[in-house]
Symmetry: C2
Subunit: 130 residues, 2 copies
DNA sequence: CCAATTTTTAGAATCATTCTAATTTTATTA
DNA sequence: TAATAAAATTAGAATGATTCTAAAAATTGG
C-alpha cells in the first residue's frame, strides 16, 4: 500500500515536490488540470488527504487561510503575521529538547515563527505615516 | 480604546479567562446565551476578532478543527495528533533561541507538540489487535 | 474473465466564518 | 438635553474550504 501510488496521487505528489511554494488544494487543482483537464477537485482532496495519512506530504494550517501542502522533510516555517506568507526555515531537530522540557514523549512538533515580511512592513509604515 | 470593553466583549473575555478549556466560538456562544439569551453568533465572532486584534486573547488553529481561543500569556500547546485535544504546556520563552538560530527578528512563535492522548492510544491499540 | 476493491467523478451538503444592511446603543458636542 | 456621529449588535444571506454520497470507471487478485 505504502509503495503504490495511483496515477493522480503520483502527479499530485510531483506537483508538491517540485513546487517550493506550499500550494493549496485549489492551486494543485489548477496546476494538474493543465495536463489532466478531466480531474475534479474532490480527487485532489482525496489524494491530498491520503498522501498526508501515508506521511508522504505534510499539511500546513494557518488560521483563516486554506491549508497548504509541503514536502515531508523536517523543517520549520516563517509565517508573516499580517499576510500569511510562508517561508521555509530550519532550526534543526529540536524534538529531544522539547521532550526533555515537556517531560513527555512526542510524535513531532510544529514550530511557526511569526514575523512581518518586507511588504507588510512597508505597508505598515505607509499606514502609520498617513 | 484599549481600556474600554463593551458589554459583550467583557463577558466573552471573562468566559475565556475563566474556562481552562480553549473554547470555540460556538461554545462561547452557548455559554454566553445562558445569561444573555438575545446574543447572536455574529456578535461572538465580532468580539473574538476584536479581542484578538487588541491582543487580549489568542486564537489557536489546528487543521480541520474550528478555531479555539485562549488567554494571552505565553505558553505552548500539546495537541493530540488524532483527536485534536489541546492541553497547555509551557516550555518557557524560547524566542531568543529561535531568533538566534533563525538569524531574523521575530514577533513571536507558535509551538505545538504533537502527541497521542491516552484515549487515542487506547483506541489505536484496540484497532491493532482486531 | 469475474468479482472485489479502490479511485474517480459529479454535485450536493456541511460548517465555520464573514459580510451586508438595518437597527440599536453609546459617545460626542452643540 | 437634543442632535449627531460613531460603534456595536442583530438577522440572515453569502462565502469558501472541505467533506460526503452515490454512481461510474479503473485496477487488482484469483
Amino acid at each position: 500500500m505504502l509503495v503504490i501510488l495511483t496515477k493522480y496521487a503520483r502527479k499530485i505528489l510531483e506537483i508538491i515536490a517540485e513546487s517550493r511554494s506550499h500550494m493549496t488544494a485549489a492551486q494543485v487543482f489548477t496546476q494538474l488540470k493543465k495536463n489532466c483537464p478531466g480531474v475534479v477537485l474532490a480527487t485532489i482532496y482525496n489524494n491530498l488527504n491520503r498522501l498526508c495519512e501515508e506521511g508522504r506530504i505534510r499539511r500546513i494550517s494557518v488560521e483563516g487561510l486554506p491549508d497548504r501542502y509541503d514536502r515531508i522533510q523536517r523543517h520549520d516555517h516563517l509565517v508573516c503575521q499580517r499576510c500569511g506568507k510562508l517561508l521555509d526555515i530550519d532550526l534543526g531537530d529540536l524534538r529531544a529538547q522539547f521532550e526533555k522540557k515537556a517531560g513527555i514523549s512526542i510524535l513531532s512538533y510544529d514550530l511557526k515563527l511569526l514575523y512581518l515580511c518586507e511588504d507588510c512592513k512597508k505597508n505598515l509604515n505607509r499606514k502609520e505615516s498617513e
